[in-house]
């Protein structure tokens, strides 16, 4: 498929190439909040960048700036990119939302793609993946693998995205381990290897035998490996950090989406929209499974995966109650997207209270 598209693209651009010896390539810029590294959130976006470079070859040119702080610096970096001739800019952190919109106003001809935000404009789209689908499945695996019925969750910030993930994981966990308990520790940072590992260790001391995480560092997986318990990574395949511990990781896959976006911009069919897709659009998936997971569990997960892909199964299907006993969805009801987007409540099975 990719070969065909690039083939078509080549021929569609051929006349252009012949008219001018050096056609100006489409300049695509990426603004990253953290280093590109070997794992983690930014790494997955940089894989997407490398993917489109491979697919489009000389028809595009990519550049990126990493570790851009979310304060006053972000607007400058995005502006420098637009001023420097970028035609398409991906800003891949929530904190870049208002800066992206400010720059977009000044550069109406540049196309902007903002990940995880909710504000759009004529030349600004938003996008994110439904990683909670993979979280739910990872919860099912964890629920099967846990002997104590207690799982620990190392979480970054109490924002809807993270809370949604904890809830999806818990629902998956308890679907096969009905008395399961999830204990959450808040880091108040996205990346702090030492602190995350410590949090994992303290959760293990409290009886957790599977450690899940919604942070960027390999700390929790490494902590679990050292203690001889299981772990669920995040963002990208984290198995290198704990061969025995790592069961799987919910993984973002931006490759196809970025390819489509570049195609739309090249063809002039791009329109501002919001994309929130998961398994069905191949934007969300699970990393390769640990051989320790029994085949029966893998079969069940594959089956659920197929259902999610076909949209016949939604992880947030009722009955769902909050951990305070409030009914969030009646039997058969699905929590609507608007509610999921601003989720600020724990489901039953998560211990403790949300900060704030």
């Amino acid at each position: 498929m990719k070969i065909i598209t690039s083939f078509l693209l080549f021929f569609s651009l051929l006349p252009l190439a012949m008219a001018d010896k050096k056609p100006k390539p489409l300049e695509v810029g990426f603004v990253y909040v953290s280093p590109t590294g070997e794992a983690g959130w930014t790494h997955t976006h940089d894989l997407g960048r490398q993917h489109i470079e491979k697919v489009f070859g000389n028809t595009i040119k990519t550049r990126y700036v990493e570790s851009v702080k979310e304060g006053a610096d972000a607007e400058r970096v995005i502006m420098q990119m637009a001023k420097g001739g970028a035609d398409l800019i991906f800003s891949t952190s929530f904190g870049f939302m208002n800066p992206t919109l400010k720059v977009a106003k000044r550069f109406p001809k540049v196309t902007f793609m903002h990940a995880t935000g909710y504000k759009r404009a004529k030349n600004v789209s938003t996008y994110f993946d439904r990683i909670y689908e993979a979280r739910y499945l990872s919860g099912v695996i964890a629920g099967h693998m846990s002997k104590s019925g207690i799982s620990g969750y190392v979480a970054a910030f109490p924002i809807p995205e993270v809370i949604r993930g904890i809830n999806a994981y818990t629902l998956g966990f308890r679907s096969v381990n009905p008395k399961g308990k999830i204990k959450v520790v808040w880091m108040n940072s996205w990346f702090d290897p030492a602190k995350e590992r410590e949090a994992a260790e303290s959760l293990i001391r409290q009886g957790a035998d599977v450690i899940a995480q919604h942070t960027d560092s390999p700390g929790p997986v490494q902590g679990a490996e050292a203690a001889g318990v299981y772990a669920i990574g995040y963002h990208s395949d984290m198995s290198v950090y704990g061969k025995k511990a790592h069961l799987t990781s919910p993984v973002h896959n931006w490759n196809g989406f970025y390819e489509d976006t570049v195609n739309q911009v090249l063809k002039g069919t791009w329109k501002s929209t919001d994309t929130w897709e998961g398994y069905s659009a191949n934007m969300t998936t699970l990393a390769p499974f640990n051989p320790a997971i029994p085949q029966s569990v893998i079969n069940q997960v594959k089956q659920l995966e197929a259902q999610i892909k076909a949209k016949t199964l939604h992880p947030f299907t009722g009955p769902i109650t909050s951990n305070k006993g409030k009914i969030l969805a009646k039997k058969g009801q699905v929590i609507p997207d608007e509610e999921l987007r601003k989720m600020q409540v724990y489901v039953e099975g998560v211990e403790g209270e949300l900060p704030n």
Binding site: G29, P35, T36, R63, Y64, V65, E66, S67, V68, K69, E70, G71, A72, D73, E75, R76, V77, M79, Q80, M81, K83, G84, F94, G95, N98, Y118, F157, P158, I159, P160, N188, R341, K342, M343, Q344, P355, N356
Partner: protein, 364 residues
């Protein structure tokens, strides 16, 4: 063999030459570094130091970037001159940004011109109060201000996190951790079209002149200096160390708070979890790099801003990773600080220098 020998007096010549030598060494090492990476050194260095300033937008960005650093550093220099080790500019800046936000959010729907000055004053007050806590602890309970100001940085940071995740959060913001955007009346006006340079960048030269007058031309400045150089002499002269201490603490806190206020009412326009990428800490380096003198601080602050902007451009233009620009920035600071050795020491071929301390007794 070359060795170092202590000078009888600090060299005035080297006070000025040392930064130039440092820059020359940085350029030389940097060229080598870039050449090893297969990047044209001249192109890389031009991108680092010249390209950021090639248009008015870039100059505006430099002013925006260095304003909070300079305000904090000028305030800190008052404390350091008095021998008070305030490490808390970061926390005071954050406190200022929070109190400014309180005012800005209170005036979010009202159409009054008072909201901006009020918000800036609130920021200064917030910073001063936060510094005041450390001063109070120092003078009432004899606590070490280095420790308390460091700890207060953490308190301010977590206060900010609590605020943006809780009571100050935008009610229409899908529970994301940031405040609502401030009303246009509470935003610092842009000075020049096509740039982001706002009214706040003009505060720095004003504060600069005031600090210089205070330190060099006023009796209060003399008292600060005396206290810093010799607390006993200050006491002998009847200067109240407590009064001076409180004053410099509150002043530097107010300036850091003003920096925070300028950030949220200027380039950011709202309260966010990451108001400052460590301006209060960078200010400590800048204060000492500038030798605690207002003019030196200004140069050092502008340099810090410039290498930051240059670092971004090198990533953009040359595709070099951030860590390479970090190494280059580190090199510059390393050389700047290490070249200062020549102010106190001189190179000599005779024995008896620093590297052969045993022989020094024989030298008359």
């Amino acid at each position: 063999m070359m060795t170092l020998a202590k000078r009888q007096q600090p060299s005035h010549f080297w006070v000025y030459l040392s930064p130039l030598l440092a820059i020359a060494l940085t350029l030389a090492t940097g060229s080598l570094l870039f050449a090893l990476l297969d990047v044209d050194p001249l192109h890389a260095l031009t991108t680092f130091f010249i390209t950021p300033l090639s248009d008015t937008f870039g100059v505006g960005e430099l002013l925006i970037k260095s304003t909070p650093i300079l305000l904090c550093a000028l305030g800190l220099s008052l404390c350091y001159r008095a021998g008070i080790w305030n490490i808390g500019a970061e926390g005071q800046l954050i406190a200022g940004s929070i109190s400014t936000t309180l005012i800005a959010l209170a005036f979010i729907d009202s159409n009054t011109g008072f909201s901006l000055p009020l918000a800036l004053l609130a920021g200064m007050l917030g910073g001063a109060v936060f510094a005041g806590i450390a001063a109070l602890l120092k003078y009432q309970f004899n606590t070490n201000e280095i420790l308390t100001t460091i700890m207060l940085n953490y308190i301010a940071y977590h206060l900010l996190q609590w605020g943006v995740h809780g009571p100050l959060r935008d009610p229409n913001g899908f529970n994301f951790p940031e405040s609502a955007l401030f009303d246009a009346n509470t935003i610092l006006p842009i000075l020049l079209d096509g740039t982001r340079a706002h009214l706040g960048v003009l505060f720095t030269p004003i504060v600069l002149v005031l600090t210089w007058v205070l330190l060099s031309k006023s009796f209060a400045g003399f008292q600060i200096e005396t206290l810093g150089l010799s607390p006993l002499s200050a006491r002998m002269a009847g200067f109240s160390s407590k009064k001076i201490g409180y004053s410099v603490f509150l002043l530097s806190g107010a300036l850091a708070g003003l920096a925070g206020a300028i950030e949220v009412t200027g380039p950011i326009g709202q309260l966010v979890p990451q108001v400052s990428p460590g301006y209060g800490f960078a200010a400590i380096i800048v204060a000492f790099l500038g030798r605690l003198h207002p003019v030196g601080i200004m140069l050092a602050g502008l340099l810090m801003g410039l290498i930051h902007l240059g670092g971004e451009l090198v990533q953009l233009e040359l595709g070099l990773p951030k860590s390479i620009t970090g190494i280059f920035q580190g090199l510059l600071l390393f050389y700047l600080l290490s070249c200062d050795v020549f102010i106190q020491y001189r190179l000599t071929t005779q024995p008896g220098g620093l590297l052969h301390p045993k022989k020094t007794q024989k030298v008359t």
